[in-house]
């Protein structure tokens, strides 16, 4: 069964054809600013397993520089949706807030915790932590 997702205004709709990888919370300043809260939460999924169903023309991509991951959002409602090697890479990231059903994958790790803002404390929830990026 595909896992459905959409933006807040409903114009962008997509589905995941496979379960995403275990998820990661990212506390870097770019994820914090694009989300408006402590950071982002999402997981990698093969690009071939993410099918856009509607609203592709509303997706806008912002990238700080060539090294930085793209931040993909709906320009009508501002919903933060995708990242990773968007749009054509073999692996993209999907923000879990954009999903409309349980992806079955859960957050297992918090990364870039050294960049966390003191006014948005990192919860002591037992998840693995990395000061910067995670390198398996």
């Amino acid at each position: 069964m595909p896992i459905p997702g959409s933006c807040l205004c409903g114009a962008v709709r997509f589905e995941l054809l496979a379960e995403p990888e275990p998820a990661t919370h990212c506390h870097c300043s770019r994820c914090r600013k694009t989300s408006g809260t402590y950071g982002s939460v999402g997981a990698r999924v093969a690009r071939d397993d993410l099918r856009l169903l509607a609203g592709e023309e509303l997706l806008r991509v912002w990238q700080a520089d060539a090294e930085a991951g793209p931040k993909v959002f709906c320009v009508r409602c501002g919903s933060t949706m995708f990242g990773g090697e968007w749009p054509d890479g073999p692996v993209v990231k999907v923000r879990f807030g954009a999903l409309d059903a349980d992806p079955r994958s859960r957050p297992v790790r918090r990364i870039h915790v050294a960049s966390a803002a003191p006014w948005l404390p990192v919860p002591d929830d037992g998840l693995d932590r990395c000061d910067e990026a995670f390198h398996p």
């Binding site: 950071g39 806008r60 912002w62 501002g78 948005l120």
Partner: protein
């Protein structure tokens, strides 16, 4: 001392002057979708205490079909910046993720936890929780 903030691309800059009314998390489905995370984190102030210093032309908002809050964001980078009925209404909300300087206040509660997504567990951090809206103080 006012606290400054900005969007991720730096096009929008603002400052907020204390005192702040309150700060907390909202886990409603709209804040969840807008953030891409488990909801938004924000403080509230009277609108006169929030000044947009640059990039006002980059701001847009999504207006819900009911009386709910607007979602104000930068159209260049998608950063979530303000809420409530910005720039109108008796109070506006400013996303805590948008600050570049410590505003001094910390989240004091978690609202709308009854709407939280099962796949995004809410941290057990001891903050008071409300199934729906947070009682006005």
């Amino acid at each position: 001392m006012s606290a400054r903030g900005s969007c991720a691309c730096g096009g929008v800059r603002f400052e907020v002057e204390p005192p702040f009314i309150r700060a907390g998390y909202c886990h409603c489905s709209r804040c969840r979708k807008h953030s891409g995370a488990d909801g938004e984190a924000q403080l509230r102030v009277p609108p006169g205490q929030l000044r947009v210093l640059a990039g006002e032309e980059l701001l847009a908002f999504w207006e819900p079909p009911d009386d709910g809050g607007r979602k104000v964001f930068c159209t260049r980078c998608g950063s979530s910046l303000f809420g409530s009925k910005w720039p109108d209404g008796p109070t506006v909300s400013v996303r805590l993720g948008a600050f570049d300087e410590d505003p001094g206040i910390r989240p004091e509660y978690r609202g709308w936890v009854g709407s939280a997504a099962s796949w995004l567990p809410i941290p057990e951090d001891g903050l008071p929780r409300y199934d729906e809206t947070v009682p006005q103080r």
